[in-house]
Amino acid sequence: MDKTLPDLAAAVAGIEDGMTVMIGGFGGSGAPIELIHALIDRFRATGHPKDLTVVNNNAGNGHVGLAALIEQGMVRKLICSFPRSADPRVFTELYLAGKIELELVPQGTLAERIRAGGAGIPAFYTPTSYGTDLAKGKPVEEFDGRPYVRERWLKADVALIKAETGDTLGNLTYRMAARNFAPLMAMAAARTVVQVSHLVAPGGIDPEAVITPGIFVQGVVEVPHPAQEEDLNRANAVYPEVAQ
């Protein structure tokens, strides 16, 4: 019953070519930098995984984290709401060159589709995007005289998320707005792997304070003092570091 993983390599071991991977974070807040970099390490050592479909709110910033994953050529398709950032060059150049696919989803619809995937709701209706290009090809139906667009659930093979405190059963708390998509992605992925800043024994988290109950978590790895994407970018960090 102990869901603790020995290290980051073990945490990203189950991710295979072609999988859909949800990655927590809104911009840099909540981005599981160490898990992403471990996945890059594996790719550089083995050539896998590649052809990933990645679900994230954004498309990376600078040359670390998600941007680095994209820069390595590991991502075939991105599902996101806002592929812009302070430095979106990595994604932008690949996208304009036709080398990466983009499925653009309104942010609230993205969140709700992920929740629906986790909650066993295959489809739902939302007013969002009605009458816009992003509703093209989607069924529309009126309820109480107002038109709504039907959206489908979104699931993943794996979710990589960052939490603040986790116990060995997978119960999680988050830190401020780093929470964002992580609790939803944990629900929607067949396998959710979490980097926690503090790993504690069961009982180490107040049952009232649990945000993600352990049932949604399959693996926990402790990463004390995780890097903050924003700090890395302000220091012009690049991953992997360029050999001198």
Binding site: M1, R115, G117, G118, A119, G120, I121, D167, L169, N171, M187, A201, P202, G203, P207, E208, V210, P213, G214, I215, F216
Partner: protein, 222 residues
């Protein structure tokens, strides 16, 4: 006739629950399953009203009525318990996150249909979380007497009572046997050694298929 007690049926069902499994037990009789976890295994119990990983019943007089299970019986905290609201609770159910749900039954059909919420149009109907559980948990099992109080089969070719769910049950633990549901058939896995196959078939409302050896259903005195 020799048959297992409710406690013994619950014991048998408990043997199939893996260590670390997330389990929902229906209110009433199925709640008993929690008492018989095999040594070395610890399941994590879910209750519809928003608790995961709760502990057993408190001593009489020590109840906290904000800490109850779906049957409104008092439970206790354990290290690792989590609270959540009803929509999150049923996201766990409907989203396929539970490993096992164990429910009672009025009737089970050979195609996996379950009837366990209504005995017909008279009286006050009540459904609770049963219809959600049968379409949510990865494995839906039933524990039940093999026949009704007046001796009629509960395992049938088709349910006659209002359905709880369609094609949802995959294993039935009865007072006489363990029966799987596969490809629209009952497949007998275990039976009490004291009862003959013919006798068991005569108490069952649809053909019991065989698929390999039938094991003896051996349960301790409890």
């Amino acid at each position: 006739m020799t048959k297992l007690s409710s406690t013994q049926i619950a014991w048998r069902a408990a043997q199939d629950i893996a260590d670390g499994a997330y389990v929902n037990l229906g209110i009433g009789f199925p709640e008993m399953v929690a008492k018989f976890q095999p040594p070395g295994r610890q399941a994590i119990f879910h209750t519809e009203n928003g608790i995961l990983g709760f502990g057993e019943a408190p001593a009489a007089g020590a109840e906290d009525w904000d800490l109850i299970n779906a049957g409104k019986k008092a439970v206790t905290l354990k290290p690792g318990t989590a609270f959540f609201h009803h929509a999150d609770s049923f996201a766990m159910v409907r989203g396929g996150h539970l490993d096992v749900a164990i429910l009672g039954a009025y009737q089970v059909a050979q195609n996996g249909d379950l009837a366990n919420w209504s005995t017909g149009p008279k009286g006050v109907p009540a459904v609770g979380g049963a219809m959600d559980l049968v379409h949510g948990a990865k494995r839906v099992a039933v524990i039940t007497e093999h026949v009704t109080k007046d001796g009629k089969p509960k395992l049938l070719d088709a349910c006659t009572l209002p359905l709880t769910g369609v094609g949802c049950v995959t294993r039935v633990y009865t007072s006489l046997a363990v029966v799987d549901i596969q490809d629209g058939h009952f497949v007998l896995r275990e039976k009490l050694p004291q009862i003959s196959l013919d006798e068991l078939q005569s108490l069952t409302g649809a053909t019991l298929h065989l698929d390999g050896a039938v094991a003896d259903l051996i349960v301790p005195e409890l």
